[in-house]
Symmetry: C2
Subunit: 365 residues, 2 copies
């Protein structure tokens, strides 16, 4: 069986501030060169090169970032980049892109939804798994990628696998049916998952044929169909932006997990040992950089003098950071703000952001 | 007895980097507004206002800083500011200024030598003590100010007091003869000093009549006399800089403590409980600022958001510093370099400076 035509849809609407002070409302992390000299969005398209040509790359993002996306992805046709007038969670965004792909590529195309702000250290294995997933998707499955957990992390949703759908794929891994999606667990529950086995982290990547997706929407979110039809009718015309601006905001605000994936019957999961990391905190980034081969007792991007300094993550491309007598410290320097915290506290950047909101320091958010 | 005419000589040649990254070779701490909005040099002259008029303020500094001094002290006659062509330790500098004062004010004037980079939180008491010191100096004493120690600090020389010279002065304190100058002690020895009592920190401030000083130099450092005579003969003429540049560098390199003070017979010490601090490290500055009334759990100059942050010293006039989960941390932000260390390690800034020298980062020194 030939590999079906694959299109990639990249939801790039995240506005997270978990990598503050580098990520800001105006420049969320997907638009930053956090890990390499390419932005995370560019890396997302780089890693499907050879599998998906630029004209089958699609992005749906916050309207105010659409031009930035077009600049960063100059090979992608401008029409492929859709700017949401407002955020309505993931189901309207993904559903609209499926409806657009039905028009541009037809129902047999397979749509892979790949978040714009994740790191994948083993792109070759990732592409092999995408190919396998596309084949399974062509049989009517909604295929998710399941990350083998390295610990009882409570920051992710989990996917419980069931019976085997395929013993072996060309990627060298099996395909399982999904027994159940599990929301972010408590620590105790997560430890149970690891003990029991058969659980994977939900990395938010899924692959399905356009036909499958469209049917799922018609079945489970039928109220969106009229809106999708209006917007798709205007797609490619001068009226597109105005129709989108009128119709999109009244679509139901709901997640694709809750609205579609958890309700589908034929759902599969492929174990994806691909060096995945969501870079959801500075500590998570430090883990990526260490895994990617950063050597030495400190991870330094920029300029650092360390006296008795061990296990540090230092980001300071412009200024010199000097540290004395500090273990496991994170220092992130930007032109107008500096974050300093122990690695164990990097998730609490949220509290800094909240305090800045309270102080109305919108210039720093 | 009337208070004698007092002239103040401010040695401002220090090039210390103990407050790096704020203090640099080009701008040592005496030229910085570290504690208030005035520079430490300006504060040194401010605190003798009313006691010593601007035309009796003299400064001897590194030649490359002489113009900066003239700018900072615009009320002081430019001739009163002497720029050393090279540093020759303190004895040549103080001796030359005494010889110049002998010419400009005559031998009966009292010369108070006051370092340019110290903090004194009780200037009124300081002035009262200076007046008392000047009276004792007029009787032929070399008078030192002794800081009552608040702990067994090993960073200072100590002055051991002997018999009482005066029971009471108008400053409300007695005057003692000096039994002995003691170099920086070990911790054990310093603890012994505190137990025994009668020991003071040597703050490097001393007061003597020009006559007394000139006699001490003629007796103990006679080899400098010819040089002083040549330079003083040129003082006030167009040849001054060139004669200074020729003669000063060949004067013996020796400290005034070792060359003069320790050899004098009539040496007195006045206990000076004046809120003195040498600001010899960021930790010492934090102590000053706390004593000066900075309130709150952190001392902040500039912009700071602290989450679970206690006992911090934050200096960041331009950027925002965000800290999470850090106790007793020092953060000093400047346009090109940032220092981060626990308070207990602030003396180790020296190691950072040494490393920068090794890396030839002269731009940061």
């Amino acid at each position: 069986m030939p590999t079906p035509i694959i299109a990639v849809v990249i939801p790039a609407g995240g506005g997270g501030t978990r990598l503050w002070p580098r990520s800001r409302q105006a420049t969320p992390k997907q638009f930053l060169d956090i890990v390499s000299e390419r932005t995370m969005l560019q890396e997302t398209t780089d890693r499907v090169e050879g599998l998906v040509p630029p004209d089958r790359l699609y992005v749906i993002t916050n309207g105010r970032h659409a031009d930035a996306v077009r600049q960063q992805l100059s090979d992608v046709p401008p029409l492929n980049i859709v700017g949401e007038p407002v955020g309505r969670d993931s189901a309207p965004a993904i559903g609209l892109m499926a409806a657009i792909l039905e028009k541009t590529l037809g129902p047999e195309a397979v749509m892979a939804t790949l978040p714009a702000d994740h790191v994948i250290l083993r792109p070759e294995q990732f592409r092999a798994i995408l190919r396998a997933a596309a084949e399974v998707a062509a049989e009517g499955y909604l295929v998710t990628l399941g990350i083998p957990p390295t610990g009882p992390d409570v920051g992710f949703g989990y996917i419980q696998s069931g019976e085997t759908v395929r013993e072996h794929t060309e990627a060298g891994v099996p395909v399982f049916a999904v027994r159940q999606f599990r929301e972010k667990p408590t620590r105790e529950v997560a430890e149970g998952y690891l003990r029991d086995g058969g659980y994977f982290w939900n990395a938010g990547m899924f692959i399905a044929s356009v036909r499958t997706l469209r049917e799922l929407y018609k079945t489970h979110l039928p109220q969106m169909e009229a809106g999708f039809a209006q917007i798709v009718a205007a797609y490619g015309t001068d009226n597109f932006e105005s129709v989108l601006g009128e119709v999109f905001p009244i679509l139901e605000k709901i997640s694709v997990d809750y609205g579609i994936a958890e309700k589908a019957d034929k759902v599969a999961v492929i174990p994806a040992d691909i060096g995945w990391n969501d870079v959801g905190s500075w500590q998570r980034l430090a883990e990526v950089l260490a895994e990617a081969g950063h050597e030495g007792e400190n991870i330094v991007i920029g300029h650092h003098v360390g006296v008795d300094t061990h296990g540090a993550l230092i980001y300071s491309p412009d200024r010199l950071i000097a540290t004395i007598g500090l273990d496991d410290i994170i220092v992130i320097d930007t032109p107008d703000a500096i974050l300093i915290c122990p690695r164990s506290r990097s998730e609490d950047v949220k509290q800094v952001v909240d305090e800045l909101k309270a102080r109305k320091r919108h210039d720093l958010l």
